[in-house]
Every structure is written in C-alpha cells, then in structure tokens.
C-alpha cells in the first residue's frame, strides 16, 4: 500500500461520507438537553476548515452523547465521524484515555503501531501520522470534544 493509500483507507473515505454524529446542533439555548452540556468551535487556520462539537454527559450513567457540524477535508470529517461513534460508548475518563492514545499515534510519524482494541476505527488514522500537514485535520474534532467536555464538566461543577 502506498502512503497515499494508507492515508485514505477505505474506512476513512467511508466515514468521510457517512459523517456519523453530524446532526443539527442543539445550541446554547437548546431545550431538553442535559445540564452537563458543552460546545466548542474549532478552526484550522490554514484552510478555514471548521467544526462545532457538542457534548452532553448523561447525569446518571456518565456516558457521552456527541453531535457536530462542520466542513472540511475527508480526514477531518472522517475523524469527527469515527470519534462520534467511539464516544457513544465512553464516559469522560475513558474518552481522555482514548484521546491520549490517538494524540500519540498522530505524532508518531508512522512509527507507533495503533492499539486497535482501544482506538477501534480510529486506528485507521495511523497513515495520517506520516503526513504532518494533515495531523491538524485529524485532531480538529478531538480538540473540539476535549474542549466541550471541559465545559460540560464545569457546567456540572457550577450547579
């Protein structure tokens, strides 16, 4: 497989089309949302790609519910899609563990083997790490979720 094919694995191209979690946003004034709510808008200044990521923490189970809207390249859209799918089964602490693993993978320049158990479909992003200019694309939604999660937890703290 060429580097390019590793970058654009079928699973990534599929997620880029499917856009799991890409749903109408609730917004700050949203009705019926969890009190543990956060929202973060992130921009990739090079290309103007942007994403808004919303998260709700279920007050009872601690589970995350994610929705997002945005535009961008296949890597950033696929990453948001994969992340949304992954996040469904996680609580905040588990997400942080996965996020760190993903972050490390992205900065490995192709030298770290992805932990498929932990990362699931996100392991397919291993090929991105050989393309330093694209790492930002892959991380955009992860940064947005980290940021919105911090807000959601603060919202909880301030109750």
């Amino acid at each position: 497989m060429s580097d390019l094919e590793q970058l654009y694995q079928q699973i990534i191209l599929d997620h880029a089309k499917e856009r799991y979690g890409n749903k109408p946003l609730i917004g700050d004034t949203g009705q019926g949302r969890s009190p543990l709510f956060g929202s973060s808008h992130q921009v990739n200044p090079t290309c103007g790609d942007e994403i808004t990521m919303e998260v709700e923490i279920d007050p009872d189970t601690g589970r995350l519910a994610v929705r997002w809207d945005g535009q961008g390249c296949s890597i950033s859209m696929a990453s948001a899609s994969v992340l949304s799918e992954l996040a469904e089964d996680l609580d905040a602490a588990e997400f942080e563990e996965v996020r760190e693993a993903f972050h490390e993978l992205m900065h490995s320049r192709g030298k770290v083997e992805a932990d498929e158990e932990l990362l699931g479909d996100a392991a397919a992003f291993q090929g991105v790490s050989k393309f330093p200019a694209r790492i930002k694309c892959a991380l955009l939604s992860w940064m947005a979720l980290k940021d919105s999660l911090a807000q959601a937890r603060t919202a909880g703290g301030s109750q």
Partner: protein, 423 residues
C-alpha cells in the same frame, strides 16, 4: 517570448527543480506562494558571506565598505527594476511588513507624531479607508487595524461573479472622505489583473493615497511604479526568485520623507538624546537596525537574472501558460474554476474547487503524483466567502514553469475524483 529550449535551460538554473518527489518528477506549481531560486541567487549570498559580510553604513573598514557597496547596489538595481528612484525603495522583511509600515506610519501621524510635515497623513473619525474584497490578508488587516486605531471607517470594493472587481460603485465607495485606497495589482487567488489606472485616477480625484500590493505583479510582468503613478507599493523578494527575508516598500520620495517612521532604533536617526530624537530622511528612516543585507544582495542577483531574461519575455511565457492552464482545468469534469477566463487579464495562477473532494484532499493526491500546489484560502478568506467556498486548490506558475509541469498537473487532476470515489 521564450523558446522551449530557453525554458528548459532556465529550469536547469534552479537546483531544486531537478528533484524527484514521491517517485515522480517534481512539478512545482506553487510559485504564487513562493518562488524557487536560481543558482546565481544562492551563489550571491554564499559569496557575500564568504567574502564581504560586514555591518553596512556604519564601519569605515574595508569589509564594511564592500558590504555597503553590495547592499546599495542591490537597492539601485531593484529600484531600476520596478521603475523607482533609488531612495524610494525601503527594505522590509516581506511585503506584509511594507504594507504595515504605511499603515503604522499613518497611525503614528494620526497620533500626532512626525510634526507638521506629517499632518497630511492624519486620519480620524469621518475619514474612510478603502480596500477590496479580493485582497490578501496582508493588504486587508493592516487597514482594518488602522481604522480601529484612528476611528476612520473601513470600506471595500466588492467582487463580481467573473472574478473582476465590481467597479460600478467606485464613485460612491471611494468618496471625498477617502484617505487611502489600497488594492492589489494582481489577485493571488483569481489571477485577475486589476485596472490600476482607473483606481489611481479615482484616488487622485478625491485626494486619497493609492497603495498598491504588487506581490503578484512584480515577479510576472514588467512593472513601473512611476508610470503606474501609485503613492506606495509593496512586493516580496521570495516571490521573484529572491531569498526569503527580504521585501520592499516603494513610496514617492516626498511622501517617504514626510511619513513618520515605524520601527525605531539604530541607523535611522541623526541625533538622539534622552528626551529628543531627529530621524534621517528616507529610506534610512524606515530601516532601523541591522538590515537583511545578504538577502538584499541575493535579491539584486534575482533582479539581474530576470532583467537578463527580459520581463516582457517572462510575461509572454507566463501568459501562454495561463491560457494553457485555464483551458486545461476547464476541460476536467467536475471542476469549478474561479477567476477570469480571458488571456491578458490574468496571470498564470488558477484556483478551482473539485466537486465532492475537499481542496486538502485534492492537494494531497496531486502531491503523491509529484505535483506541488497550494490548498486552502490562500490568505484571502473574504474572497473565498464571496464565492461560497471554504478552500480552493491553486496551481500557479513562474518563469521556470514548463508545459510539461502543466500536463503533469492536468493529468493528475483528471484522476482526483475517481480516486476519492466521486465519479
């Protein structure tokens, strides 16, 4: 015109162009971002550092004299190249700094610096500053900041659908309140060559300063600032075969001598005491501290190289490439190009979007085929927003670009949609 043989000889002067990228011949079509450097430019810097390096305008010793001579020769050659007097060229690190020097000069004047001579540069509430919707951020944000600092109003000339400026409203947008009209000679995205004479005439009518962003004209066509009759102009060395780290501000001599300096420090004052300061005339008043001396020498060599080729020949060669690229891109299914069609009204810089494939992905695919293009908003977000595109792919040529480069690019472009499964 340059013959094919001449162009391939030119290509050989650029060591970087000989390399392979991702297993393919390199087709460098990102000259709009920065140009490659001929051997003579590289050698000029090496020679300077190896034989003449020293502080300029400061020392009486032999090396200092040799360095000063080389430095001022670079200025004289560059001035001649753009139709300016030698003392009308101020060195900056890039075109961005050059445009900021004008904006901050006006801000300083507006804050009361520079004495009576600088009064003509004052602006405030009730005044307006006009740019265009196609500007590179370098010729946009400094004016917005100046408006914020002075209370002047910021306005802009809009873009038409065809990639030209919409000038129907020129008379009402540029009016008697207008103190600055800033516009680009050539759009770095659309390739459009703007009607400088018409814009300058309007600036003159209302007594506004005409500030020209010449970044994308000076490398690609003969430019004569005196003939264009602009008040200030900016361009960058790295886009015209010269080194990084050097740009220039052109200003009409009487304006430069009256504009308050911006960066202050050594080598730009006549006397300074703990409570007073007198500045030198231009260009020195704007050249505080140690200048990019080796880079000026390198730029002088670049200017010599271009002069030898002849800028008419360069422009004719690139006009041919422009036509070829426009026609080629327009033939690729699912590609939407922005910017004018007509030869003669554009340079060889072609921006487009590919239906269903984001520009980042287009660029990545092309790179895998050895084709270097730029993707993104090319520091022109308002322009992209105007055409409702977040990011485009841009292929841009320079004097060393060949038809083979274009073919390699067009061939790869034709395969993009298939690779991403959208056709």
């Amino acid at each position: 015109m340059l013959t094919d043989a001449e162009v391939s000889r030119i290509r050989n002067d650029f060591p970087i162009l000989g390399q392979e990228v991702n297993g393919h011949r390199l087709a460098y079509l990102d000259s709009g971002a920065t140009s490659q450097k001929p051997q003579c430019v590289i050698d000029a810097e090496v020679d300077f550092y190896s034989a003449r390096n020293s502080a300029v305008h400061r020392g009486a010793h032999s090396l200092a004299v040799a360095a000063t001579d080389a430095y001022e020769a670079g200025r004289a050659d560059t001035a001649r190249f753009v139709g300016a007097a030698t003392n009308e060229i101020v060195w900056t690190k890039n075109a961005t700094e050059a445009l900021n020097v004008v904006a901050y000069g006006l801000a300083n004047a507006s804050a009361g610096l520079g004495g009576a001579e600088a009064e003509r540069f004052r602006l405030g509430p009730g005044d307006s500053i006009v740019a265009t919707q196609m500007e590179h951020h370098a010729n946009l944000i400094p004016w917005q900041q100046l408006a914020r600092l002075t209370g002047a109003e910021f306005r802009y000339l809009p873009l038409a659908d065809d990639g030209r400026l919409e000038l129907d409203g020129l008379e009402s947008i540029v009016d008697s309140s207008t103190k600055v009209l800033a516009f680009t000679h050539v759009s770095n995205v659309l390739g459009t060559i703007n009607p400088v004479a018409r814009l300058v005439a309007r600036a003159r009518q209302v007594g506004a300063l005409a500030v020209l962003d010449a970044c994308q004209s000076v490398p690609h066509m003969p430019v004569d600032f005196h003939a264009l009759d602009v008040d200030f102009a900016a361009f960058s060395g790295h886009k015209m075969l010269g080194p990084t780290g050097i740009g220039a501000l052109y200003g009409r001599a009487e304006l430069l001598d009256a504009l308050p300096p911006v960066l202050t420090g050594g080598s730009m004052i006549t006397t300074v005491d703990m409570d007073s300061v007198e500045f030198m005339p231009a260009p020195q008043r704007f050249e505080a501290g140690t200048q990019p001396v080796a880079q000026v020498v390198g730029l002088g060599s670049a200017v010599g190289y271009l002069t030898e080729l002849g800028m008419d020949n360069v422009a004719a060669h690139e006009a041919e490439l422009a036509e070829y690229l426009v026609a080629g891109v327009d033939r690729v299914p699912g590609v939407r190009r922005i910017g004018p069609d007509a030869a003669g009204e554009r340079i060889a810089s072609v921006a487009f979007e590919v239906e269903g494939v984001h520009a980042h992905d287009v660029g990545q695919y092309l790179d895998a085929q050895g084709v270097a293009v730029r993707v993104g908003h090319h520091c022109a977000q308002p322009l992209h927003r105007r055409y409702r595109i977040a990011a485009t792919t841009r292929a841009s040529a320079a004097v060393y670009t060949t038809q083979e480069d274009c073919d390699q690019f067009l061939g790869a472009l034709a395969d993009v949609r298939k690779f991403f499964g959208v056709s």
